[in-house]
Amino acid sequence: MPAKLWFVLKRVLQVVPVVLAIAALNFLLLHLAPGDAADIIAAQSGGASPEFVAELRRSFGLDRPLYQQFLVYIARLLTFDLGWSNVQQRPVFDLIADRVPATLLLMMTGITLALIFGTLLGILAAMRHRRWTDSVVSVLALLAYATPQFWLGLMLIVLFSITFGILPSGGMMTIGAVMSAGARALDIARHLLLPTLTLGLFYMAIYARLMRSSMLEVYTHEYITTARAKGLSEARVGLVHAASNALLPVVTLAGVQIGHLLGGSILVETVFGWPGLGRLVFDALLQRDLNLLLGILFVSSVVVVLINLAVDLLYGFLDPRIVHK
């Protein structure tokens, strides 16, 4: 499959300049902040003489010309050195690495849920076009699309944790208890339920509406009439022939929204105390830890780039026409 291999290689190589650009942006933001690392340390130690601050600067290499500092910055990034968090007294990379799995779990579950249920609802609405099912789905989607995620999370906690008491109100697992692997997985799943629902509902609404309009457009295509002329059931025409063509724009959109999803996870993790990157952002804000914030910006951007790459490749395999372009 030489065409497909070339396609994969080309896409992977396109990632490199993007990551460099992200690093450049980070660097720029770092230097836009009033005061630098030397000032922060000086402030933390309760004020210091100008000479001391100058000496600190020299030791950090902050007195060198900007382009040199940038090269040093890039070199550090290649060794996964994202700087030091003065507040938490640990390397930024370590702090982030600890939290990434939890966020990935939440995000992946959230978008999978949103895609599956969103597209199914969209298909249902399109196949029941102009009947009450369609109206109900459309109205619910409109409401979900307008709901602030942090508020939704709080309300779900009120309903399910406080009032009904059937789901935990925060955290990723029950601490302290010793469990078997299976029980642990179940425990995490219970904790995952509300955050995933909160995160995913917004996107479910988007995908439902997009799938619905995509299906309605596809229904005007001639091959739908051909499928009916073959004597296929309306269910098969809709679920197989129409949906397979209508799905492509939804998958594309989902891929593009990974960045948006990361942003949403900040709010959701904060509300539910989910120990992920989002919660780390909140902590960094509270503690005014700029190094950590920028490190998270960098890592999340790179994650988005990698996921976009994966989606691009997936898209290439889904639509047989893409690879040949």
Binding site: Y219, E222, Y223, T226, R228, A229, K230, G231, S244, R321
Partner: protein, 325 residues
Amino acid sequence: MSALLQVEGLSVQFPTLRGDVAALEDLSFEMREGETVALVGESGSGKSTAALALSRLIPESTGCIISGRVVFEGRNLLGLPLHELREVRGRRIGMIFQDPMMALNPVFTIGWQLAEPLRKHFGLSNRAARDRAVELLGHVAIAAPEQRIDQYPHNLSGGMRQRVMIAMALACRPSLLIADEPTTALDVTVQAQVLSLIKTLKDELGTAVLLITHDLGVVWEIAQRVIVMYAGRKVEEGTAAHVFDDPQHPYARELLRAAAFASGEGGRLPEIPGSVPSPFEIPSGCCFAPRCTSAREICYAALPPLKSTKHGHEAACVLVGAASP
């Protein structure tokens, strides 16, 4: 021998923002087994509407109203419950459309699409259906069918795609093939091949063919009987020989004059003055009267009924039977 297909008073109305439009008005004709009938007319004459209306393939979302009777193999298709109609579609009636690129689903292989009616109507397994599909591809003169079967519509040329459509329509050996402008979207050189393929297959399988076209050359090649349509109504019907030699309706006469010119008689292209009436402004009386050189007062007053001359040759004109000018 009773007719394979009896169409009685078939009418199709569409609601539009400017009122109801009759796309097809009171069409009646019969077809016997193995017969080839051509439905001829310009665009807007209602011929494609008729083709789709026979097995109720006009999408419901258009809000069309179909009235009349379509008795196929003894049953009125217009009154059949949907699940029974689906047994007829594809199995007893096959259909091919004008643009095979649009009429084939782009995301499935041609083999999979070809096998679909076989799986549905005959319950064949995937393996068996696939083998049969390879056979069918060979039957429509597609070279190397074992490789082609896993290709996608965009991998094939226009002529090959149309062959696939023919194979798909005839897969279940239906007794009626409806071909809606099967050669219009093809190159001239390919047109002849596809036409001859249809001829060969219909003779082999004994399939009746209802051919929708505006190309009189195609009619001459393949049709036994001709029905001429104008502004949604049938204006003439007879054997191909009768209609071509001695057209009774002024419109049919003009059509044949233009066709004769096209086959190289030279001189000035005969024009029919005026244009086809808009479906919102169908004149009372004969629809063709405003453009007819032989129009009388009576033509504008009332719709001329179908009058026959020789056996089976009829036309909707008051001048039928009078000496030709």
